[in-house]
Symmetry: D2
Subunit: 438 residues, 4 copies
């Protein structure tokens, strides 16, 4: 976790105190159910909850001090709680194992983190939709291979981003369901010393699903899928970030990250306005992707469990969610405040001397009876002249002067192929697909 | 692709001829719809399908020869088809772009590959379920950290694997939906020169969903999610493979890969029976995981598309699906024929001198009024003696001789805690969760 | 391995026949040494070499057929050789284990593959050096963040690439030394049944170093380092490929991949010239990077060895070296034939209205006694006007008209800061550093 | 960075204050050289160093406050220093660009971090060597595929680890040289506004090498190689950690991590002693490996630089070095205090009924004139009986009773093949190779 790439609400989920609070809730709910079952006195849970209602401060340092001796975190915590609550606390944790607490806690933390990420995605989607509507018909050149292809609109670029992040949202909902499970199943998951209804009770109280079969641990394929999903979302962030970086290039300059008055682009070159936010997002995406790898390696735990996943999750649990939260929020800001330059888009569109209309002429020629091979040859020989002139020659004029082209198409028929609006007739239909009909 | 790790049905999907057949179908369906719309003569599609009905051989070498000149694969293919079909073929590909064909073809290939993988998973699930039922109550020691913990059953190990691969199957169904989309949207996805209904028509004919908004290409976040899902499945394969490898260790030997009569384990040590199939699976899992990475890097294509994803997909499209198909089939064979040794499991269970029952005694002591701390100390001091004796001392006997323990529990109460069946009372309930009630 | 991304010399190294030839050489050299030691008759090696001198065809199919029965590749090979050579062959493989053959063979294959890669790098370095010298003083704009910064030369871009690939070459030499080791140490590496001098003898004959301590296998940290090095080289290829892709963007167009007369850029847009070779290289780099991962996971083999590395190496041994060989050769072709457009470079340099000289003015102001803060403010306010004019205003003229600037610098002093050659005075020194003095 | 996996000396390198101190040194050294060249007054550097000699506290919060306005870290720092030092400070940073400071600082930090890592490796090597000498001739079974193979010694296991980490040390020395370079070359690396001798001066003062050709940034292939090297070292750590985990398995128990008196292995099972340190190391290795990936993706910066690498390095710079430092120290502790159980090793060796000697018998039979195929068959049929008896039958006795074997070998000849010392005759020679002669 890098502080400058972290936001407080997400960071709070991963702080020791938050973790201990979830530990307590799991233990107290379990004790409550054990009381109902008659395994422990009902007074035990009552004592725990009574203490809890006093809103006690969790003394992280004191717990750490006990752990330094016992070298076992859950025992340290239970000992500390017992010191606060008194004798009744000895009934806590009956028939449970540490992993019941640790794994269920991780589930709660990841579920809460995901709720924030879902909100982040909603905000991002809203920003993208607003810019899509605003620029629904703003003409801009579509590029393949970085080369001018055919016209599109800036709104369509945004619509594509919207559809992509809507998919990311759906994936994240699935990923949340993957990890939001509860295990209170004992030492090797057999419920030998604890009734399965305790698991079901705790699960319900915490908004989780009982894990159908655990083996001391919740199986790590769930977490692998979760972090892999974050990696895909990060890659989509990178795609939009790279788009902005490209649009901001000096020679393109069709859009720019918002540049605040006091900001300095460079210590040396005062004229510079650099796409630093989206460059940062590119780097952060690399990190979030990388965090999926150890999560995948964590799946193959030995037998009923080993603890190699634990150190990994101490890193990637916070690091992946905190960084993704930050990235989504930053991207939302970039989209929201992006400076869009329609005049420059038009200028870039025009600079190719009409080459972007070449395919329409090609089609017109074949429809007029010219073979595809010949049509291609005719268009290409004129297109190449325009290309080599760096946009100073006009494809329209060259085609009208080409006797072989004229033999197939009248000047008017050629001119009709150079109409920009022709390309935008399906924009409405695509928007309907992406945003739904109004 | 490594031939020895490939099976013919999956490999066939990725051969040039199969690809060209899909290309033809896309072009012919599109031409058919264009005929209905009056954009091209209806006779064009008829000519194409009439030729197709003759079951023509696809001359891959001839198409390659044309590509060597044009350096463009789709044009080479169209040229070759035109040579076969004649004049009517010039109406093919009207308003389309190469990516319409290539991306939709990849969707068909991945969807078909996934159907095989789903069948593979079904076969694997069936094999696991059979072994789970067979060994539902076969006692075996549960291990955490590689250390004996508490008893479980071999059936529960299988149930856990079943639940994990059932999740993998669900994920794969989702992943299939991710990539089974069709794009016939033209040069930059604006449908400038082709009606959106062509895309919808082709999609329906090929069992795909129309891509809501494409940009020449189908967005690569879909493929990233697909290959990430394969990586998770591979990791689950690794988990079960590692379990078998552990069980086959000389000192453990609770199960063994089937060993055929003619097989030689080692050129030097004729007694050796090595878990080579599951070791192989471990390595294959590493490969399938690795293939997810470039798929994630493919997402951030430049603007409306660049072609950097293409070379990646030429590798990972076949390599990931072929290797996963092989791995799943191999794992199914391993599970199906796995030699399971219940006697050895029991022997291992017994070798710890009853230490595995220590937690039950701990609980009994606390329930008898001993503080948790004291109970822990009492059990541990006896457990340590057993542990240091390498299983020659008996925990039961030591506890009965410990005056502090005897003060709290009668001999009979202690003996009750050493009953193996105690641990299996919830097996039925877990099986219900995993396999459903009969 | 994708055939279209493979070259024959490298592919040949990985074919079964080549592998079997190395197997034979290892066995024959070992038998020879064992003869010298008196462990086996000296006639044994003679019989083997005599047969070898007849240049026998290796019957791969026959060996495969034996392996289908024995399920052991080395035994199958030894059996086949024995069938050819006769009775004396039974002395082969005395005291050796299969891994002695397999691992040493992999070492030979990787060493040979590396020799090709080193040649590839030499060719690439030569091409880059030629273009560097050709364009040593061709002015072009240097860009940071994709934004115009200060002038540089195209030769300096090439010099940077040269230095980077020279480092790659050094790393590859180290990587070759890592993997060029020989193990003939028996079942668990103790030389129990074979004298260490056999290993030393075979190593010398094959141009390898004896592995100081092997454990049936050559330790896989060596291979991890090797494939990690290939991954770094691939990343450097990607860097230069991305540079070319950027330079070929329509709006930049300072360089282009060579475009052959018959080539068609797009089935739809005949004017298009796409940087497809470098886009391909970008994708291939992603693959080569990915291959390093499983090599890293291969290191932690169990005890004296498990065989999980083997299936991985069947993939990445050929795939990584073949793809890197192809990539290096392709990149050499791209550099060699790259169309470079100095006029366009100058045009792009000029389009910013002189903004690239802003830092020099900033320095001149501070040297004239203006505080750094004030100098920055003065330059920035004029620079911003030029920037917002899209290059139609001239920074030089604006600065001369700014009274605060004029108060510190005369017109002549300002004009001196707009001299392009000023930026190139250290080019020679940098070239000396990179290419050495002539 | 996870605090519990961090040690103070390494963490200190990455704290803001440490970074700012290096920034200052770079600026001051550069100003000094600029003074020698007459570009700035010599009094400037003197003023800086005079202030430095007062051992000023670096006010990180104040610098952060300035950065919040300027949104530029280096400008913020220079502003703050100027506030402290006064008017002479305006000569700092003349002709330099922020990256000159940032990249050179990263070089210093990584070089210092590497020095700690090299010390860590030295300590680890010393611990391994000590244990190797101690157990040079402690017999233990060598295992391939997890299956008993032939005898080896625990010292040889340690010797292998020593050789592996000695290689890691060499690689780290190379990796340090990779990143220990200095760039003070200005906005795009042309030295336009600064003399190359400043770079050389600063480099010498800081113990770095001048970067032959930089492009505002030091090229990131260097850092990719560095972090890839750390990933290889992490994988070697994982190998030794996995070895310990295997040895500590209940059924094997040939070694154990040191277990301190107050430590509790499990909240539920008081008898458990878990290899948690090495399991932790396994997880940490996964993280350090993962950090190499974004470093590889950082190489392909756009043109003369983009800043996408920067956010990545804010993570992996500290996280990879801090975690590796912790891992190496922890592994050193594990090795140093490892509880080794030679009796148990012998017991495990004996449990296979002499099967580990099968290869020697095989050799004896072939040397006695039996064909390899027959010898293999004879040994295997007796070996299989022993194997199936779970070690209760004795291979020696069975062989002596097998008439076909007796026909070729006398009882005494057979017995000679069951001598353990036979396997250790080359231990000394291997130790010489690894540790050098005494």
């Amino acid at each position: 976790m890098v502080p400058r790439y972290a936001r407080p609400a997400m960071t709070a989920i991963w702080e020791p105190e938050a973790r201990y609070r979830i530990w307590f809730e799991i233990e107290a709910h379990a004790t409550e159910r054990l009381g109902q079952l008659g395994v422990v006195p009902e007074s035990a849970a009552k004592a725990l909850w009574d203490w809890w209602k006093t809103e006690p401060v969790i003394d992280v340092a004191a717990i750490d001090a006990i752990e330094a001796v016992t070298k076992h975190d859950v025992i340290a915590f239970l000992t500390w709680v017992a010191e606060q609550v008194g004798d009744e606390a000895r009934f806590m944790h009956q028939g449970m194992t540490s992993s019941d607490v640790l794994d269920t806690t991780l589930a709660v933390q990841l579920a809460r983190a995901t709720d924030i990420l879902l909100d982040d995605l909603d905000a991002l989607l809203a920003a993208i939709e607003r810019r899509a509507m605003e620029h629904k018909y703003t003409p801009t050149i579509g590029r393949s291979h970085g080369i001018h292809a055919e016209p599109t609109t800036f709104g369509l670029k945004m619509a594509q981003a919207y559809a992509e992040f809507a998919r990311c949202r759906e994936r994240l909902v699935s990923a949340r369901a993957e990890i939001a499970t509860c295990a209170v199943s004992g030492a090797v998951g057999t419920f030998a010393n604890i009734d399965p209804s305790v698991e079901e009770y705790v699960a319900e109280k915490l908004g989780l699903t009982p894990e159908p079969v655990s083996t001391q641990v919740i199986p790590r394929d769930r977490h692998a899928m979760y972090f892999a999903t974050l990696a895909v979302i990060a890659s989509s962030i990178e795609r939009l970030a790279v788009e902005v970086r490209h649009l901001q290039r000096t020679e393109v300059l069709e859009a720019e990250e918002y540049f605040s008055p006091g900001q300095k682009g460079s210590s040396a070159m005062p004229h510079k306005r650099n796409p630093v936010l989206t460059e940062n997002l590119t780097g952060q995406a690399r990190m979030i992707r990388a965090y999926a790898l150890p999560a995948l390696e964590n799946v193959a735990l030995w037998h009923e469990r080993d603890i190699s996943h634990s150190s990994v999750e101490r890193f990637i649990g916070p690091d992946a969610t905190i960084t993704l939260d930050f990235s989504l929020a930053r991207l939302t800001g970039v989209v929201d405040k992006l400076l869009v330059y329609p005049e420059r888009m038009q200028k870039n569109l025009d600079r190719m001397g009409g080459l972007v209309h070449s395919q329409r002429v090609l089609l017109a020629l074949t429809q007029a009876g010219v073979s595809r091979e010949d049509a291609y040859r005719l268009v290409q020989r004129n297109a190449m002249k325009v290309w080599e002139s760096d946009g100073t020659l006009s494809l329209l004029e060259l085609l009208k002067s080409d006797p072989e082209v004229s033999a197939a198409l009248s000047d008017k028929e050629i001119e009709e192929r150079f109409d920009l609006d022709y390309h935008f007739k399906s924009v409405d239909r695509i928007f309907d697909r992406v945003f739904g009909k109004a």
